[in-house]
Structures are given as structure tokens and as C-alpha cells.
Symmetry: C2
Subunit: 197 residues, 2 copies
């Protein structure tokens, strides 16, 4: 196979891209070799060589050992937020409502995708909860069947330990309109309705 075809095939395997957009991107890169192709190649070289998962929380980092968040002493060590991946960490950090530490699971349990407990970073989660400071574990996982299964599994695993386990609230998203909500959300929002003071 031609090197250009090989590149297009590689690009088309990226999430959200298909053969046509991959072709467009490859031609864009070739037309701007010095301005875009070579810098992208360099950025990938750097990431391959420097980025690794933090041994503590699992976040991607270029620090030699633990990541900046884990090393940050101003963050509350008593609250540990369990998330699926790095994108969730960025989303929560953008919301500026949590000042504790994170623990990246690397996914959720899924029989369909063949993700069992050994694929997730559960051992390190339990050892972090054992070693001390953690008082509350907030499970900020997807509101899906797989997320729910994972929540129950983790709850059982953490039961012997002296930590409180909580989950994010379910209900209408802020800005949501009732007629656009799916049935599951409407159901949950009714069930979890709050009395107006």
C-alpha cells in the first residue's frame, strides 16, 4: 500500500473521522508540509516520549512522577473523585466546583466490550482509600447501565473501608427543557423531586 493511503487509513481510524475527512486532513497536511505536517509530527513525537499516566491518579502527565494535581498540596486530600477518563477530569476542572483529588478508572465495567474489573484501576483506588486521608469517594461515572453497574461494584469493594461513597445527582440538566428530555431523565427527575421550601 502507498504511504499516503496508509496515512489516510490511519487518520480515518480516529474517533469522529471517516475516509472522506481523513483524505481531506491528509491532503491539508501534505499541502502545508512545513507549516502543519512537520509540527504535528513533532508534537506526536514529544507526546510519545514524554506523556505517561500518573501512578497515583492515572491522569496523563508530562511530570516525571506524580502529576501536578496529585502534587498540589492546596487540594483537599479528603475528597476523591472517581472518573472514567481524562476528558472527565478536564470537564470537572472547567466547572470549578471540586477541589479534591481525582482517580481515573480508565473506563466502566462492560460485559459487551469485555471490560472486567481487572481492566480498571480499582486496586490503586482501594489502596488510596486505605492509605489514609480519604473520607469521601465521589463516583462521578456515566449515568448509563455500565456506569451504574460499576458504581455498585465499587460500592461493594469499598464497603469494608471507612469511607463515605457518594454519586452525582441525577435530574434535569441546567438549561434543559422538559419536552426535550428523554424518558429516563424525566423518570429520574420525578423520582428524585425535591420539596419547595
Amino acid at each position: 500500500m502507498d504511504d499516503l493511503e496508509a496515512l489516510i487509513q490511519r487518520i480515518s481510524r480516529l474517533p469522529g473521522l471517516g475516509p472522506r475527512s481523513a483524505q481531506r486532513i491528509a491532503l491539508h497536511l501534505l499541502k502545508r508540509k512545513e507549516r502543519d505536517l512537520v509540527p504535528l509530527h513533532l508534537a506526536l513525537t514529544r507526546v510519545i516520549n514524554t506523556v505517561h499516566a500518573c501512578p497515583e491518579c492515572g491522569a496523563f502527565t508530562t511530570k516525571r512522577e506524580r502529576c501536578a494535581l496529585c502534587q498540589d498540596d492546596s487540594r483537599d486530600k479528603t475528597h476523591l473523585c472517581v472518573i472514567e477518563d481524562m476528558a472527565d477530569l478536564w470537564a470537572i476542572e472547567r466547572a470549578r466546583c471540586f477541589y479534591g483529588q481525582y482517580h481515573i478508572l480508565g473506563g466502566v465495567l462492560s460485559a459487551l466490550d469485555g471490560v472486567g474489573p481487572e481492566e480498571l484501576r480499582l486496586d490503586t483506588l482501594i489502596s488510596r482509600c486505605k492509605n489514609g486521608a480519604v473520607e469521601e469517594v465521589i463516583l462521578a461515572l456515566s449515568a448509563t447501565l455500565e456506569g451504574q453497574t460499576t458504581i455498585h461494584y465499587i460500592k461493594a469493594q469499598l464497603a469494608p473501608l471507612c469511607v463515605q461513597v457518594s454519586v452525582l445527582a441525577r435530574g434535569m440538566p441546567v438549561g434543559g427543557e422538559v419536552d426535550y428530555l428523554d424518558e429516563g431523565t424525566i423518570h429520574t427527575a420525578f423520582q428524585a423531586r425535591c420539596a419547595l421550601e
Copy 2:
């Protein structure tokens, strides 16, 4: 800036991608370092080292000199199809309706984008037309103002030479419905209407 942020910024500059999709792609790559990130990096390395523009038609090729199409003696040397870029070549080849040779201009004249005649591969087009075999030049350029301007410019440049110059037909696209056509296409389709035999 962090190496990961630098990569995300690089990816978000690619056509059709924004910051969110770039973030998703970067995390996808990092999570599948050996399976996806390293092979993509290798594919880019190969393309940087091997792909260049064919000195004759301008198409990207990994051949040492002229590309496979230019070297293919079974292709009709009397018909030369002038196109904007490599994606047009692939589209026309997919349609299997043209068996001549191509000439990639590298764009169209555009005062807005600062593309003048010296930015396009016009000199090589003229010398190809002078050196012999070409009898008809088919200008398969965009049906836009810029494409039209470029067509008129090339027509004037080729006027002293003994070649026929043609353009692609304008009208309703196959499968098009009248109520979905834009006004320009309707106008053209009326003007270029054909008598039913």
C-alpha cells in the same frame, strides 16, 4: 505549554476539527499508544520522507520521479484534465469516465485569499500543452466565481496554442430535486436547457 496541550492544539488546526474533537482524538491516541499513536506517528514519518509532488502533473506520489498516472502509457495523452487538487483527481478517478492525464493547479485564482497566477502551476500547464500531444484541455474547476475567473485566465493563456479548451457542463446534479437547487443552479440549468429529441 504542556506537550499534550500542544498536540491538542495541533490537531484542532486540522480541517473539520475543533478543540473538543481534537481533545477526544488526542486522548484516544494516548490510551492506545502502541495500537494507534505509534503507527500514526510512523505513517506521518513515512509521508514526510517519501511523498512529493509529481513534477509533471503535480499529484502527490511516492514514486521517485513522475507519478504512476503520468507513467501509465495506456492513458490517453491527448486529453489533459486541469483540476484544483488531489481530492478532485481521486473523485474523477472514482467516476471512471476520464482516461486521459491530469494537471493539478494547486487552487484557483482568488483575490480574497491572495492567490495570484504565480501561486498556481500555470507555467508547467503551458509547457505541457506546448510539448506536443495534448489536443484538448478540460478545465474541471469549481463552479464558483474564483473557478470561473481561473477558467477565463487559463483560456486566455492557452489561446495562442493549438489546443481545444473545454469546461465541465453546468446544470442539475444527477439525483437533484428542483426544490432543493440553489438559484444559481436553476438559472444555469434553464439557460443551458436542451431540446428533447
